[in-house]
Amino acid sequence: MSLLSIKNLTYKVDDENDVKEIIDGLDLEVEDGKFVCITGPNGGGKSTLAKLIMGVNPTTSGQIIFDGEDITNKSITERAKLGISFAFQAPVHFKGIRVIDLLRLAAGSQISVTEACDYLSKVGLCAKDYVNREVNGSLSGGELKRIEIATVLARGTKLSIFDEPEAGIDLWSFQNLIKVFENMRKTVKGTIIVISHQERILNIADEIVVIENGRVKKQGSRDEILPELLGTSSASNIACNKLGGEQ
């Protein structure tokens, strides 16, 4: 059964005198319990789609059904409460809010320092050094990214969406990040959607969805899609990243 069902979804923006369709009649079914990787060329609409699922951007037309309920017109808060989590591509900085505060808000209860440390350990952070740090620019891009992922783990919802977890982090952090996702693949029981260009993340997916020009171009199992991707233009990012990773 589909946990997430997207029907004829459209998202238009006014671009000076022109109306631009970022998402253009997109249909997508995501089955319960799957690890799905969304990939495709830059500007194809991947991040926009993720934001439409979370409710960060309003849909122009179409329908989003989550766990049997139409959430198309629901607020971010309502969607979060129904069981959707979102790890932002660019983690947000806060003044005065500490890592422990953010994890407690995510967990929805006053979790103990030990519990908070468990989540931080899962994303490869030495917990006791971090719980009382402020979530601001004093942390590196890789640290903020991992804290962002930890907030999603702390929520433990039916659906977790990660928008380009590899973006903006250094190579050393990237190696650790891959381990985090490999581990998550084993431990998280919910459905996971990861937007990524990284072959190593695509490699642990059950399913791969290719989005281009605001539509689903291909969807299928990893074994079916990945070899195809390596021979197409939309795989250029993957190839470049792979080369970068080996240098």
Partner: protein, 305 residues
Amino acid sequence: MDQIQKKILEEVADLHGVLEGAYNIRANGVSAARNTTANIDIVTKTDKPGIDIIIKPGTKNESVHIPVVLSESGLKDVVYNDFYVGEGADVTIVAGCGISNCGDQDSQHDGIHVFHVGKNAKVKYVEKHYGEGDGKGARILNPVTEVYQEAGSYVEMEMVQIKGVDSTVRTNIAELAEGATLAIHEALMTHGSQKATSDYKVTLNGDGASADVVSRSVAKDDSEQIFAVSIEGNTPCSGHAACDAIIMGNAHVVAIPKLDAKNVDAALIHEAAIGKIAGNQLIKLMSLGLTEEEAEEQIIAGFLR
């Protein structure tokens, strides 16, 4: 003391039970309770309202609480408190003023605090302001602090005014001798049609003196805030001032920095930022399941921590 006064005491001095150490509680313009210790003496002034707090040299790990409570409408209370902190002492001083005004006349408390901090002494000063009451009368607090620091002394000041004070003009003067350090942290929130002015004037007179003045404020509704800070460096010294404000509704926030260096080795820095709550902060917290209002509360609470 009645229940209202006790509640206000809890708000401004975090006092829930019996006080320890030296204290002087002032309620509606008169001294309500006092305690002195072997090292800390409190003496009533004879020429004007107020007290002298005399802390012996070398006093360690002791505290002085001097809360003020106003629960009568129409009272205008002015008090002069002078602190004499002996050489090498290490003390915590907790002052605070709470006004409960249910009447129609203005209630006002002006506390003038002068600190004479001896050589190598260490002082932590905490001041909280709080107002409540549904009367038409305004709740007005105009505190003045003057800090005179001798060589090698360290003063940390934490000033908090979060709720219910209609009008505040805060005036702070500090003069630092060689090697003295001053750290000020101000947290302020105004709402309704409240007005708050903070004026800091720090003069660094000794070699190696340093000052750090940090203000975090939130201005809601139709409230108005003015933050003026001036740091004067007369010697090789370092000074840093930062004012960071969140503006909401129809509020008005003014930041006026002034740096005045009279020595080539005076390193003075000022940072000021005024802006609304960032949309992505709200979205992130809402994506964790908070409503927009709850997200705002969390952001403000963190900001003012």
